[in-house]
């Protein structure tokens, strides 16, 4: 499976800024095979039989956590969930001690979600099992970035030279940060747009990244548009005046979509605020791959778990 000695075996998946193009391609190719498993009648394969995975979630999550859980179970691994509200974390146990406890139980990988940036890298320093970052604050969400790339590649057959527009709350978005580094590495042209209060002041100097004041400019002739979720609690701190105004000026609607290429692909990491950052008719249009992203998410996470835990070997997907 691995070619040119590209391998993620035993590695922690912390952020896409650490991935090179060959590693990304390896994940996407593996995900393609994994997607076939998901579409079977009987989904279980023995690839990761005897491996144990802990989902350690310090933040609420439905889709990412269940996606990782199903990915592990389809591959035959034992998967358990530890969530902040129902564990010794509420008794004040430190992250180090929780990690050491989980490690001592003999797990092979820890899938971790945490609201503090750098928490996954901290975990990687503290314990031996591979850490898979399922989101750390506003820093990174590498499996989301990879599933976005996978979804795009399934539709466009290539990634190189595609123009992608990422819209909305870039400042607080770990999805944006993972997309940006992954897309740039794959040779895509990244355009960012949203209210200035939701754009980082400083990313502008980075190569291959273009920042626009207006949505219309960013989506012009775009091959892909990724609409980020607006966290409504941001509105309370005054970063934009009202949801109503946001939808009118910065939301993706039919008119703005028409400026993009005819075959533009629309993505959204979910959950959507329909009528705010994206209009319902766009969200359910033929351009939308939003539901497909969810299925691709399981495939990409299966690929990551296999590559990290088995090095891509033992891919008995026909079993």
């Amino acid at each position: 499976m691995s070619k040119n000695n590209v391998s993620l075996s035993g590695k922690s998946i912390l952020g896409l800024e650490y991935f090179n193009a060959d590693e990304i391609k390896l994940v996407l190719e593996t995900a393609k095979e994994m997607k076939n498993i998901i579409n079977r009648d009987i989904k279980k394969v023995p690839t990761l039989r005897g491996k144990s995975i802990v989902n350690l979630f310090y933040e609420p999550s439905t889709r990412t956590r269940s996606s990782f859980e199903l990915a592990g179970k389809y591959l035959g691994a034992d998967v358990i969930n530890i969530t902040a509200g129902t564990s010794s974390i509420v008794k004040g146990e430190s992250l180090r001690d929780t990690l050491l406890t989980v490690e001592a139980m003999g797990v092979d990988a820890i899938v971790m979600r945490h609201k503090s940036e750098g928490a996954a890298e901290y975990a990687h320093q503290v314990v031996k099992p591979a850490i898979i970052n399922a989101g750390d604050g506003a820093h990174a969400h590498p499996s989301q970035g990879l599933l976005d790339l996978f979804t795009i590649s399934q539709h466009k057959n290539t990634l190189k030279d595609l123009k992608v527009a990422i819209l909305g709350d870039i400042l607080h978005s770990r999805v944006a940060r993972s997309d940006i580094w992954g897309m740039r590495e794959m040779g895509m042209e990244v355009h960012l747009a949203g209210p200035k209060t939701l754009l980082p002041r400083f990313l502008t100097a980075e190569k291959g990244i273009f920042v626009h004041d207006r949505i219309e400019e960013a989506v012009e002739a775009a091959d892909v548009i990724n609409v980020l979720r607006i966290q409504l609690e941001r509105q309370k701190s005054g970063l934009f005046p009202s949801p109503r105004e946001y939808a009118r000026i910065f939301g993706l609607n039919r008119e703005r979509l028409a400026r993009a290429k005819d075959d533009v692909l629309v993505l959204h990491p979910g959950p959507m605020n329909k009528g705010l950052e994206i209009s319902p008719d766009v969200a359910y249009s033929d351009h939308s791959a939003i539901q497909e992203q969810v299925q691709n998410g399981v495939a990409v996470r299966m690929a990551l778990l296999t590559l990290v835990l088995m090095g891509g070997k033992n891919l008995e997907i026909n079993a």
Binding site: S116, E117, G118, Y122, A138, F202
Partner: protein
């Protein structure tokens, strides 16, 4: 007891003095400074190749006493000071409880007599419980011996309260030390706002927050014709604002830390909380402005802002870690390695900002080698190579961004009131 420091390079910036010579110490005082001095029964300290300076002064440390002795106390903190070459340090009042009354000032002075191996000055809180709403009893604290007043750790948000403090303290001729960061702009920021924070997705503290606060504080001090001191300056625009104010004759002074002279936010990794500090490590262009500010006299003093925390407090997620790290034992090494040996500042420039400079700012009878003065003396080996190792720290703080660094230059002897309290890095009790 007599001590003869023989043949060292005596750097005494308060007297514009920089020569090879001898220093004779007797009965805790400096008896004589000159060449080829002779004294019977004196213990000879060979200082050839070494630098003899006035005892180093650090007017911004956190000794955590009372209330947070797991982080540090007067014993461990003063030993760390002596190990780093300091003979006199001033501790900030953000303790538990806050040092905001004369009883606490007196109590801490007594604790210093019992437990400390160097001189400790007490800085009182400017406002009650450092809440920024009502002035603390600063007159009472002045009479108890407090050397300055500060709500360090907090910006005095109310301009009216700061103006009251500036006006009121004119009677007592004491300086307010301002922690200048406009609060609403830094909210939950955990590092400098810039390219690095944008990459890491971490909330930033922009330099403009410091610039605004410094400008306001200076304007109020100018209006009141009162003394203000800007703590741990770190932004180039703030330095320029201080520079212009000094030209106008405003009674403003400023200090800078080794970290803001030598480290940038590129060193921040979100899994290592040792770089978390306030003000945060800035970007490169600010460092150059700090050095320029020291050179032209805009910045008067170098302080460490020594802020030790317990291991378990720092060994957490970056967001949850308290800000600050220990600095007393690394300052000389870092400054000599990154500024002196790199040719950015010469030794007299560095020593001045650690002796005569701060003494002048706070009207201390210290910081100068003078016949008849208390014999607070530091001997530095500017070429000693060593590696920063937390195991060897006297401070209880463990998380230092300088850990593992190979440094060149170290204090090798600290003399307080004529008594050797540190020799070759070891405290002599």
């Amino acid at each position: 007891m007599k001590l003869m420091l023989k043949g060292g390079r005596i750097i005494n910036p308060g007297k514009n003095f920089d020569q090879i010579g001898d220093v004779l110490i007797e009965n805790g005082k400096i008896k004589e400074i000159g060449v080829g001095l002779k004294a019977e029964n004196a213990t000879i300290i060979e200082a050839a190749g070494l630098v003899v300076t006035p005892g180093l002064i650090d007017m911004h440390v956190h000794l955590r006493e009372p209330g947070q002795e797991a982080k540090e106390d007067f014993s461990s903190g003063s030993k760390a000071a002596a190990a780093g070459g300091y003979t006199r340090i001033a501790c900030m009042p953000n303790t538990k409880p806050v040092v905001d009354n004369a009883i606490l000032v007196n109590g801490l002075k007594e604790r210093a007599r019992q437990a400390a191996v160097v001189h400790i000055d007490i800085i009182g809180a400017l406002t009650k419980n450092q809440k920024g709403t009502e002035l603390a009893e600063v007159g009472d604290m002045t009479q108890a011996g407090a050397v300055a007043f500060s709500d360090d750790g907090h910006y005095v948000q109310s301009s009216k309260v700061l103006l009251n403090g500036l006006d009121y303290l004119r009677t007592f001729d004491k300086r307010i030390i301002s922690h200048a960061e406009e609060t609403t702009l830094v909210e939950d920021g955990i590092m400098n706002e810039g390219n690095r924070s944008a990459m890491l997705g971490m909330k930033g503290r922009p330099t403009v927050a410091e610039d605004i606060a410094v400008a306001r504080d200076i304007l109020l001090a100018e209006y009141a014709d009162a003394k203000i001191h800007i703590a741990h300056i770190s932004s180039k625009n703030a330095v320029e604002i201080v520079r212009q104010a000094k030209k106008r004759g405003v009674k403003v002074t400023a200090e800078v830390t080794p970290q803001h002279l030598t480290m940038t936010d590129d060193l921040v990794n979100a899994f290592d909380t040792s770089t978390k500090v306030n003000p945060p490590l800035r970007s490169k262009e600010h460092l150059a402005a700090m050095i320029e500010g020291l050179k032209d006299g805009t910045i008067d003093a170098i302080v460490t802002d020594h802020s030790p925390h317990a291991y378990e407090e720092k060994d957490v997620e970056y967001n949850y870690a308290p800000s600050g790290f220990p600095g007393l034992e690394t300052a000389v090494g870092v400054l000599l390695t990154d500024l002196y040996h790199e040719g950015k500042l010469d030794l007299p420039e560095i020593i001045e900002k650690m002796t005569y400079g701060p003494a002048k700012v706070f009207d201390l009878a210290a910081g100068v080698l003078d016949v008849g003065a208390a014999a607070d003396v530091t001997i530095i080996d500017p070429n000693l190579n060593w590696t920063v190792d937390a195991e060897k720290f006297y401070t209880r703080g463990t998380h230092s961004p300088f850990l593992g660094r190979h440094l060149k230059g170290k204090a090798v002897m600290t003399i307080v009131d004529g008594k050797i309290v540190m020799k070759d890095g070891k405290i002599i009790d």
